[in-house]
């Protein structure tokens, strides 16, 4: 009995040792570059620091200053407008495109590739292309819009149009992602359900509304949550295409906090903005999931 007990104990200890040996490289990296920064950032938001000289505590002063900061307010408003436009366009556009692509047509692979390719194009490459397509003088967009009697527009260089131009550009870059996710989900819909609806005499539109759309509910909810999170974290496109301008017309929270922390040396206040944004994202996600829970029916 004693021998068996020792064996068991040895096996257990060796599992502890082996388990930690396997997990520790990744866990260490995530602790150092993930967990510690989360806590540190929270502390920073109660400090005044320029990242070089020692910090000192200021309590809630950074958070109290936020509502009185017009640039912060502008950034949040721009972010809200951007999200409200970007999410429906990219999700609904992705759904319609996926439905159109989900059929055995001639050349379907070419269509799919065309829709997928922008997903792998980097942000900076996308921005360089769209600065050119949206060039007010020589750009393709003004010429094409002119053919149907619209424009000319100043796009990125106009205070009114810059944010909408960023919406258009990012929808182009993102929609392929949503299409891929929707296509995968569409192909998971059982044929029998569609056939049963056909036998019951449902038309194509009826099948889409009453069979396809409800079954895509979970995926739609995921895409709405996921694209909202990404929309609220918008940075690269703003930094590269407009640098927040013209003036402050395209300031968004992450861009503002980048400017503060890494160009203005106001890191504590920037950390407070980061945490407020995090809270906004968290609350929005929870609300979306709660509303989604009521609207979305998961298949049995």
């Amino acid at each position: 009995m004693a021998v068996r007990g020792a064996n068991i104990r040895r096996a257990v200890t060796s599992d502890h040792v082996v388990g930690w040996a396997f997990a520790s490289p990744a866990v260490l990296l995530i602790v150092v570059f993930g967990l510690i920064p989360i806590v540190w950032s929270a502390l920073l938001s109660f400090q005044k620091t320029n990242l070089l000289s020692p910090a000192h505590w200021v309590g809630l002063a950074n958070y109290r200053a936020l509502p009185k900061d017009p640039l912060f307010e502008q950034s949040m408003v721009h972010s809200a407008i951007y999200t409200v436009l970007f999410v429906p366009f990219s999700v609904a556009g992705g759904l319609l495109t996926a439905v159109a692509l989900n059929r055995p047509l001639r050349g379907i692979r070419i269509y799919r590739t065309a829709v997928f390719v922008p997903v792998v194009v980097s942000t900076i490459a996308t921005v360089i292309i769209f600065l050119w397509v949206f060039d007010p003088n020589f750009g393709l967009a003004n010429w094409l819009l002119g053919k149907v009697g619209l424009g000319p527009f100043a796009f990125f260089t106009s205070s009114n149009g810059a944010l909408y131009s960023i919406v258009a550009m990012t929808v182009w870059g993102w929609i392929g992602f949503n299409v891929i996710v929707y296509l995968a989900a569409l192909q998971g819909i059982p044929r029998e359900l569609v056939e049963a609806a056909e036998i019951d005499g449902a038309g194509a539109l009826g099948i889409f509304r009453n069979v396809t759309l409800p079954l895509l509910g979970p995926v739609t909810l995921f895409l709405v949550v996921w694209s909202s999170i990404n929309a609220l974290q918008l940075f690269d496109e703003v930094y590269l295409a407009t640098n927040g301008g013209p003036g402050t017309a395209t300031y968004v929270p992450v861009f503002y906090l980048y400017k503060l922390a890494f160009q203005g040396g106001i890191a504590g206040y920037a950390a407070a903005i980061a945490y407020v944004l995090f809270a906004v994202i968290l609350v929005l996600t929870i609300v979306q999931l709660m509303v989604g829970k009521r609207m979305v029916h998961y298949a049995p």
Binding site: F22, S41, V120
Partner: protein, 294 residues
Amino acid sequence: MSEIQTIELAERAAEGPAAEPKGGRFLFSSWHLVLIPIAVVMVIPLVWMVITSLQTLDQTRHYPPSLVPTSMQVRNYTDVLQQAPFARWFVNTLVVTLACVAGNLLFCSLAGYAFARIRFFGRELAFILILATLMVPFQVVIIPTFLIVRSLHLIDTLGALILPNLAGAFGIFMLRQFFRTLPVELEEAARIDGASRLGILFKIVLPLSGPALATLAVITFMWTWNDFLWPLITIYNPNNMTLQLGLATFQGAHQTNTNLLMAANVMSMLPVLLLFFVAQRYFVRGIATTGLKG
């Protein structure tokens, strides 16, 4: 939905529609009228980029713009290579990306396997803390991460781009979920035969995990190759820049030389586009797997 089902669905998304053609295959379908405009809008900016990259500067300053190639000034490409260290940036990006892909495959496999199969002290707590980092957006941690990397004297080196990204919560989570779908009997049999945990992982588990590993590799590749904000903050010396950061500085310096800018852009995209065409199904599967998780 289990990971294997998810990957099967994603596989089909990459392959083609499950439905059989219903007679109309050789007739003109009205769906083309929907799909052609969509495809044109998606592709035209890219086509125009290539056309502009082959024009002279005068031709780019022309209205209305020409959508038909009017010249073939291949010289733009060699000019770009002479004016900026694109080859260097390409090598830097390749080193960083390959290191991160290799690191993620190795460390996330080890950790994912430990979390899936080995009972060790503190496992649940460690796993929950790892998952928590998945929910916190990058900009929340960016300032302290910068300070940590600075205190390690890695600022302005490729190490700043590699070290923090050698393992990620996403990869650990994904592989753990996948490993748990594999039949445990094979591993138990091997243990009875005296195989070590490491031997089991590398000889039994990983060979069965090809699709999951390929998906993680592709996702890590895309994230690392296209990353911009982190290199922007940590790299200043042009010799240490990645392709994306280098391209951004090139854009700042050549805003009016549209033809050179487009040539640089085409070159920066080629590697990832080539990979996309060669491994389209893995890209698609990678994305579809992330999505279907929700």
